[in-house]
């Protein structure tokens, strides 16, 4: 429905839309809009409104356009919406396009300067804030002027859509860790704009926020922070890393929470080394895992590339370590600040020669935390590297979640023999060899350096070796070792987090996905259900994949594999693992650099399903 309202004058006559619309805040990168956007998100969260905040930002420190989308959803949907009803157009470069992207009846909040060039639609509401004039009246030290200018839209938004000034001040205080001075400085601008808006703007849109009870007991956090916290509770000892977006804030999260693991004397139980490159970071965690500690590195595609030689070595030499791959878009630099699921195959097959790597794929905040600690148990149990594949969307954006569950199992350190256990092992089996599989699960027993037993030492190598870890170029030794590693990967299938399945819907259509598409899929499935199209759902959480994936495929007439990469990598993997009867498996692969939207899934699935 298009309305033809004279901006800033007429009162809207439409039905009110409460707690169910989205904002896009368009600013310039580095202009300080982060605090403003964060304040809006946290205010809505505190009002009890389910909300998310996604930053669609450029690879740039200052100046290039950036969009922050905030979605409020009384029904609790937190996927990115394709269309936002409201734009805060504070970037003159993108404002013309931002305004054109609004749906009819949408709202544009902009500055008086920008308004001059963009007022070309008559089916939306324009609210024009005289930012320069307002700022002139503000008592802000000149050094901070530019930084707090964005608070003007916070004030306007608060007034127009009903967020209380008190609440905003509380959130600002939190944001500045209780320091009143900066909070007050920002609040002054918010209030100036708020009062100006109240006196000068006549609201002509139906959108409004209202306090509700949709976030009680919930938290908001980024996936990188959640994963980092998980690692802290998982007993991480050695962190080695090299900065790269979007993984950097993962290690920042560990640094921020390192205190939780200090001794009473304030000594550290976590070493954090900024390495000279990712190759060295990988070497450090492999060395640390070999020596019996829990080690982690966090990186993204380009760094994973550099780690591949160590990944292969660690797989073959059977050394536990945890590698987080916070995936971004494309090879080399690609789109470094855009999200993607494009490293799935690369990570799973990382390393030269035969073999595949264990991968965990968290789909939400809780799983980022859970896999944060569990990855160490899995790595040490299986004596192998574990790759946690997250992405920029989960890693760097704010996600709404239930609070995290404390680990429900004690630390699992795997088959490690201390001196006594080694002696007992030798007494029982006659000998111990590093790669001797006495349990038949492909997982041998290991000793770590420092074990005081004359047979504890062995020589770890990437070269061919037999069960006793002795150098060997014999074909049969090589093949036997490969067979055991293969068996170990099969053992892994049942130890790894099982898929999330929703298959009780008497549906012919099955949807398979992994990672962060879940929210968009959930919403799209609800829309489809409204149209009478029932679907079942399975989200793979680990590789090598569970046997139940095959059953799910067989149980449906039509299967869609939904993923956020261009090549349909999960589809390829399914074809590899499940080659029979898969003509009914179709790929819905996107890969456009942005978090998936429900409408893309809905439209494409409906089109393909005919």
């Amino acid at each position: 429905m298009a309305i033809h309202a004279e901006p800033q004058s007429k009162v809207d006559i439409r039905e009110p839309v409460v707690n169910d619309f989205a904002f896009s805040v368009a600013t310039k990168n580095g202009s300080g809009s982060q605090t403003s956007n964060n304040v809006l998100v946290m205010s809505l969260f505190r009002m009890g409104i389910p909300v998310n905040g996604k930053n669609l930002f450029p690879s740039n420190i200052k100046g290039l356009p950036t969009w922050y989308t905030i979605r409020a959803s009384k029904d609790g949907y937190t996927a990115r919406k394709a269309i936002t009803e409201i734009v805060v157009a504070y970037n003159n470069d993108t404002a013309p396009e931002d305004v054109m992207n609004l749906p009819p009846g949408g709202v544009c909040i902009t500055t008086d300067k920008i308004a001059r060039v963009i007022r070309q639609r008559d089916d939306i509401s324009y609210y024009i804030i005289p930012v320069t004039k307002l700022m002139r009246g503000a008592k802000v030290p000149s050094a901070f002027r530019k930084l707090v200018e964005n608070m003007t839209y916070v004030g306007a938004v608060a007034q127009l859509f009903d967020i209380s000034l008190d609440l905003i001040y509380q959130v600002l205080l939190d944001n500045f860790k209780g320091r009143e001075k900066p909070a007050r400085m920002n609040q002054d601008i918010v209030e100036l704009a708020y009062h100006w808006t109240a006196e000068n703007i006549v609201k002509s849109d139906p959108y409004r926020f209202e306090t509700m009870d949709g976030t009680t007991g919930k938290i908001i956090m980024t996936g990188n922070d959640a994963g980092a916290l998980g690692a802290i509770f998982g007993g991480v000892n050695v962190v080695a890393w090299y900065p790269i977006t979007p993984s950097t804030s993962f290690v920042d999260g560990i640094i921020a929470h390192r205190y939780l693991r200090q001794t009473p004397e304030k000594e550290n139980t976590i070493a954090i080394v900024q390495a000279e490159d990712e190759l060295a970071a990988a070497g450090m965690v492999v060395g640390a895992g070999w020596a019996g500690s829990r080690a982690l590195t966090s990186t993204s595609g380009p760094g994973i590339s550099l780690m591949s030689e160590f990944a292969g070595l660690a797989y073959f030499a059977e050394i536990p370590a945890v590698f987080w791959n916070i995936t971004r878009m494309g090879p080399s630099t690609g789109l470094p600040t855009r999200t993607s699921q494009g490293d799935l195959l690369f990570t799973h097959f990382l390393g030269h020669g035969d073999g595949r790597q264990i991968c965990l794929m968290p789909g939400n905040l809780k799983e980022a935390f859970e896999f944060g600690w569990k990855s160490f148990d899995i790595a040490e149990t299986l004596q192998t590297p574990v790759f946690v594949i997250s992405d920029l969307d989960l890693g760097m954006n704010n996600w709404l979640s239930d609070p995290f569950d404390y680990p429900d199992q004690p630390l699992r350190r795997g088959k490690v023999l201390d001196a006594d256990a080694l002696q007992a092992f030798i007494d029982e089996h006659g000998k111990w060899g590093r790669y001797l599989d006495v349990d038949g699960d492909g997982i041998p027993y290991r000793t770590v350096p420092g074990t005081n037993h004359r047979f504890a030492g062995y020589f770890t190598r990437g070269t061919g070796h037999d069960e006793m870890a002795t150098y060997s170029e014999r074909s049969d030794d090589w093949v036997e070792n490969m067979a055991r590693l293969h068996l170990k990967m099969d053992t892994a299938r049942s130890l790894l987090p099982a898929p999330i399945v929703d298959d009780g819907n008497e549906a012919d259509i099955g949807i398979i996905t992994f990672g962060t598409n879940e929210e968009a899929i959930r919403e799209a499935r609800d829309w489809l259900a409204n149209d009478g199209i029932r679907t079942n759902y399975l989200r793979i959480r680990a590789l090598p994949m569970a046997a139940t994936v095959s059953d799910f495929i067989d149980a449906h007439q039509s299967v869609f594999v939904i993923e956020n990469n261009y090549d349909g990598q999960l589809t390829q993997l399914i074809r590899l693992e499940h080659p029979e009867n898969i003509s009914h498996v179709r790929s819905l692969a996107l890969g456009d650099g942005l978090p998936m939207t429900p409408s893309w899934i809905y439209d494409n699935l409906k089109e393909q399903e005919g």
Partner: protein, 348 residues
């Protein structure tokens, strides 16, 4: 007659590893031998030692000494990062690491410099033969300018001096030696394992198969004829009580002897030979190395020594218990810690 044993009651052959598979006469084997002797003489406990290496003939050698220790033959040029991780995981371990001139001077130059910069405490041996032995005789970056090899012709690049690079990177113990000089190698190894920082030993170690012509400065004949030790070195055990005067000598030029007290309380005594080199003087250390390179003088001995700065583990302020030995209660904060964090994040 029972075999001679050390203070731990162990015979020297208990410090051996697997039989070497290197070419007979390879310089690297002599260094392995000196490592065996060193560990035996110093009564080292093998389970407290790790051996780490990169890739190359040189890097194979950890399989040939201290068979009771854990060893890790890692990746080409990446030994330093593995050592860094392992020694952070367990500060109770000592590490003897072996690399080659290709391993450290080319592919691993970055890690070589950075591990020194971080002052990870370990013995970093470069078995320097001027060629890539394992890949059959290509020039390495330490080959002399103008050197001729049958397959690869003449090397037109100036050499990289790895001892000099170590000094520049901030190493606090830098020595050069010759694998044909068993006595000096032995003494330097015994000093290096006592050092609480990265101790770099650039040991010229002839490749008898690809680079042993008299004309090569990395050959046995050349080394035997041209090695000029900077000093005679002696190590005095911790219980040795030196005359007060000797330890407090501030200016080397005044005497012909310098005494350095090492971390474990032992003393390193250097008796000057025909030169004024004071290893405690960084400028002089660099000068000696530069002159050696320019004038092709084969100076050996302790080139540079400095009181070590804090190690990486010190800088990280790690707890005294090795991280690898921490129990579950130190690895996982209690449930209350998570609950507190969570409730602090809740809307209300």
């Amino acid at each position: 007659m029972p075999p001679r044993t050390n203070a731990l009651g162990l015979a020297r052959n208990t410090y051996r590893g697997k039989p070497s598979t290197l070419c007979p006469g390879c310089g690297h084997d002599s260094i392995s031998n000196q490592l065996i002797t060193m560990a035996y003489e110093l009564n080292l406990e093998q389970h407290k030692i790790i051996k780490v290496s990169g890739i190359g003939c040189s890097s194979k050698t950890p399989a040939y000494f201290l068979g009771g220790s854990h060893g890790f033959n890692a990746l080409h040029g990446r030994m330093p990062s593995v050592v860094t991780g392992a020694l952070l995981a367990n500060t109770g371990l000592s590490c003897i690491a072996v690399s080659g001139d290709g391993d450290s001077g080319s592919i691993g130059m970055g890690q070589f410099k950075h591990v020194i910069r971080r002052n990870v405490p370990f013995v970093y041996i470069i078995e320097n033969n001027g060629v890539y032995g394992l890949t059959k005789g290509q020039f390495s970056a330490t080959a002399d300018e103008g050197q001729f090899l049958k397959y690869y012709g003449t090397n037109h690049m100036p050499p990289i001096d790895l001892a000099l690079e170590a000094v520049i990177a901030g190493a606090t113990f830098v020595a050069r030696s010759f694998s044909g000089d068993a006595k000096q190698v032995q003494t330097l190894l015994q000093a290096a394992v006592r050092h609480q920082g990265t101790a770099v030993l650039d040991i010229i170690s002839p490749c008898v198969t690809f680079n042993n012509a008299e004309t090569s400065t990395k050959s046995y004949p050349y080394g035997k004829d041209n090695e000029i030790p900077l000093h005679e070195i002696q190590i005095l055990a911790p219980d040795y009580v030196p005359e007060q005067e000797e330890i407090t000598i501030g200016d080397y030029a005044e005497g012909d002897m310098v005494t350095i007290q090492m971390h474990d309380g032992s003393f390193l005594r250097l008796k000057k030979l025909d030169n004024d080199h004071d290893p405690r003087n960084r400028r002089q250390a660099m000068d000696v190395l530069e002159r050696s390179m320019r004038e092709q003088i084969f100076s050996t001995g302790l080139i540079y020594y400095e009181e070590p700065r804090p190690t990486l583990a010190d800088t990280e302020e790690l707890t005294a218990t090795p991280l690898a030995h921490l129990g579950a209660e130190q690895l996982r904060p209690p449930k209350e810690a998570l609950d507190t964090l969570m409730s602090g994040l809740m809307a209300g």
